[in-house]
Amino acid sequence: MNERVQRLKRAVQEAVPGLCPERALIWTRYHKDKQNRKKPRPIQMAEALSLVLAEKTIRIWPDELIVGNYTRRRVGGGIFPELHGLVQMSDLFSFPSRKENPLALSRADMARLAAIAPFWATRFLGARVHKSPRKNLAFLARQLSGTEFVINETGGISHIAPDYEKLLTLGALGIGEDAAQRRKAVRPGSDEAVFYEAVETAMAGLAAFGHRYADLARKMAVAEPDPARARELAAIAETCEQVPARPARNFAEALQSVFFAQIAVNIESLDNSVCPGRVDQYLFPYLKRDLDAGTLGPDQARELVFAWSVKFAEIVPVFPALITRIHGGLFNGQVVCVGGTDGNGADAVNELSMMLLNAMDELRMRQPNYTARVHAGSPPEYLDKIHAILAAGANSPALYNDGAIVPVLVKNGYSPEHARDYTPVGCVEPVSQGRSFSSTDAALMNVPLCLELALNRGRRFGSRLRIGARTPDPGAMLSMKDVKRAFTDQLGFGLEKLLDDLAAVERANARLHPTPLTSALLAGCLESGTDSTAGGAQYNFSGIQCVAPSSVGDSLCAIERAVFRDQRLSLPELAAQCAANFPDEDLRAYLLSLPKFGNDDPEADAWTDWVMEAFSDLLEGRKNTRGGKYTMGVYSVTVHEFWGRVTGADPSGRRQGEPLAAGLAPGNGMDRCGPTALLNSVNRLDVSRATNGLNFNVKFDAATLRGRTGPLALSALLSTYFSRGGMQAQVNVLDPKVLKEARDNPAAHPHLLVRVSGYSAYFNDLTPALKDELIRRTSLCAGRGGA
């Protein structure tokens, strides 16, 4: 990392994250104009986007080679008033002072933002999901409580890996021209014609955005006293004159074009999981051409890559406490994926893959979310590099196994070639680059709550109000068959409610929040003349997350043992103990001693597998309103911590207040036999059901992976896990001592990067409960010699 990159990194890390009101205010001004509100929605979206891009403050910061500011602050986020802006603004007056993730915001801006709230109170997406006002109020109440399930799609969709290759090849104006040609072939005034017109407008807006930077750079070059910097600014001006409007001619232009588009797509769709994806594939031709021609040296290329990577950390999401409980750690999931194969299955690692791995390792910043694909033919030097980085404690990249993921995608309807062109988006969800509109993070389901309802005839513990299915009294359940039946009935009932709400949210997104710019960067939309929110993309899915399957699996295992095998107590007695949060400490100790998932115990593991099967069976055959399947994901972001607080105690021995299992991991602290046993358990599950991906976090004490033996052991663990069909893994190598220091004295480790759930976050940005959970989970058994 050279000095310039160090300065850029420092500037971003030391900048105080803040809230920028520009997008919200410009968006509101546009929509307050009644003339505008008469226009078709897609046109409104394209014009509002173009207006933001034309009017927002632009800056070129010192030392920058890649430019483009998402907000007017160095590090900042915006408000999406037409989506979940009102929820975002629930912390409006406390953003600067709140303890976790404070965001700078001036009093004047607070007042400006508060003033737009009434306009959006009846217009934001959540207010218009269901036609019946009463039904809509009930929907909003469910969303705000967020106990049974959470529908993230109410806050917008995003979660895409745009076809940036197309942008680099045609330029924004080229894509606009394509849309114009297509418009001539359809009936004027038709939905298709409107969509094409919106694409033309949005692409023109994107092109003009680059030109603003060209003008600014030219002006700055004239005023710049340092001749070297003046030359750089002149070069930036030349680059921005060309891209994103026109095709990229070299590597620098390609990087620049991608970042401009990244800003625009974030502003249009939602600042959540807009993913550059397989950058090492579509940018490599530009890099290679420059290197071969000698117009770019390897050091210059590296500097550009680093400077580009730093830019992603400038974009932060604005989450109020309400959302932080689900998505902790200021993360916005801009995935960069390296490695994997080409469309024919041949290995695709190249110089740029390695350069990006180096950038990730040396920068160690929160964004982008770096991931690496591995397969049977991954080159040893690539794998060795990754294992060394991980053993040294970088906690990134997360690893994705082509051998497990590609067949799952094919089974789910992708062509083999498109499946091999997958990149994870968001946390862990595989999509085909530039072809999928997957809403992978559509909703999260509280599965352990369904067990609570099953143990109390469809009611929460201590409540008389039935919110679930009418299942029998626990006293009438005479076998595990009855218990399983009651649980699946509750799960089915809950999923039905979820899918009913979700379908309405999907329609609301299509109706109220089409995204022409994003759609033009997804294959299928221009061809069909249909926006991606309305099903225009080539591949459509919606991901429903099965949260904490092992919490339920361990509970079912405990019921079978305690009630039906050992006959230690009756099911109503056990349910009463759970409802009362285990007053009997001896009973709880006994329940905790029963088999648990993650310890290489086939009996316990089979129960977790069964829960995942039950969940995916209930989604089988269901279609979303875009014509795509509902897919099961097994990840929990940070909602397992929140739901652990609000979900009653369960028969596994977990008390209310303790976190649920995170992703595919065992229950908190339940894995006691070390990493080999854990991996055996995970490999025992049929993960092909997790068609929306899964998150498997394996944590090591730093001492275990130290020295000569550590990286070798890690490499053996991972290669075994993947060769046996493991789908995904992320390795957290953490020193509990360092974590405790960071917790007790945040200033000691201001930028300690940890892996949360499919993404990296600064430890300091986590809630106290999450910090404690991470510390608790950090030490797996270390090898100890007997001597």
């Binding site: 100790a589 006994y590 080999t676 055996n680 070798l712 052991a713 090898g783 100890r784 007997g786 001597a787």
Partner: protein
Amino acid sequence: MSHGQSEPRGLIFDIQRFCLHDGPGIRTTVFFKGCALACAWCQNPESISPKPQIAWYAERCTGCLTCAGACPKGAILTPPGQRVDFSLCDGCGACAAVCPREALVSVGRRVTASQLLDELMKDVDFYRSSGGGVTLSGGEPLLQAGFLADFLPQAREAGLHLALETSGACRARDLTTLAPMFDLLYFDMKFMDPAGHRKWTGRDNRGILAAFTRLARSHPGLVARMPVVPGIQDTDENLERTANFLKKCGKQEIHLLPYHPLGEAKIPRLAPGLAPLELDGDPAQSLEKVRKALESLGLSPLVYEPL
């Protein structure tokens, strides 16, 4: 399943998976119970007695005394701070079976060769990908020669890489017949002077050194190891005698094991046969001193990465 005398059973007290420092690769280490020595620095004091024992974890005990009703020997004590009268306890485990909090724990269980093998084969994929295997440790595994004669051929048949950690304090015949079944023999050089050896371990070392000399000629996988306890092994005299002995045996390599006061925490939980060691000096400094000294004496010492 049990066939009385017909199938020999081994007495073990722990099986640890994912061990990285008991031989190459990822290994599972089996800890056998029973040892002929009682080293003052022993890290596994629960390994010394050749019989099952009961350990009491005071911090987990709620004083419910469910154990008192279960004990056939009347060995449960009721005053606070005490629970087991170790002079009466025969380690039958009846109390541990009823203890609701795992405060009373059986140390030592009997396994057949096939039961043990099933347990070890769980990580076979990891042994293969890492070049690892199984290490027998203890205690002294060779004291259970009858069981090993049954177990080792089955383990070899299963293709496991086998390592042994031995004190050499066993019957010479057992060592001779069983050693060839192992790929690696880690042989402890506890102390060179016979009188000192008796003082620190309770036994003379002449038979042990003779066994090492024989193995050095016959077994290519023999590796010397030395526990390094500050103030004990790190004297100039001991290091010089160690180096001379090893060179005479044609051995250059020696693995140094850092000392951990790990065993001392365990002593009060068990029949206390040992007194805590009064340490004289810093283990890390001592280790570094020994490494340098042995190097200058012409050996190739390898320091185990401290955990």
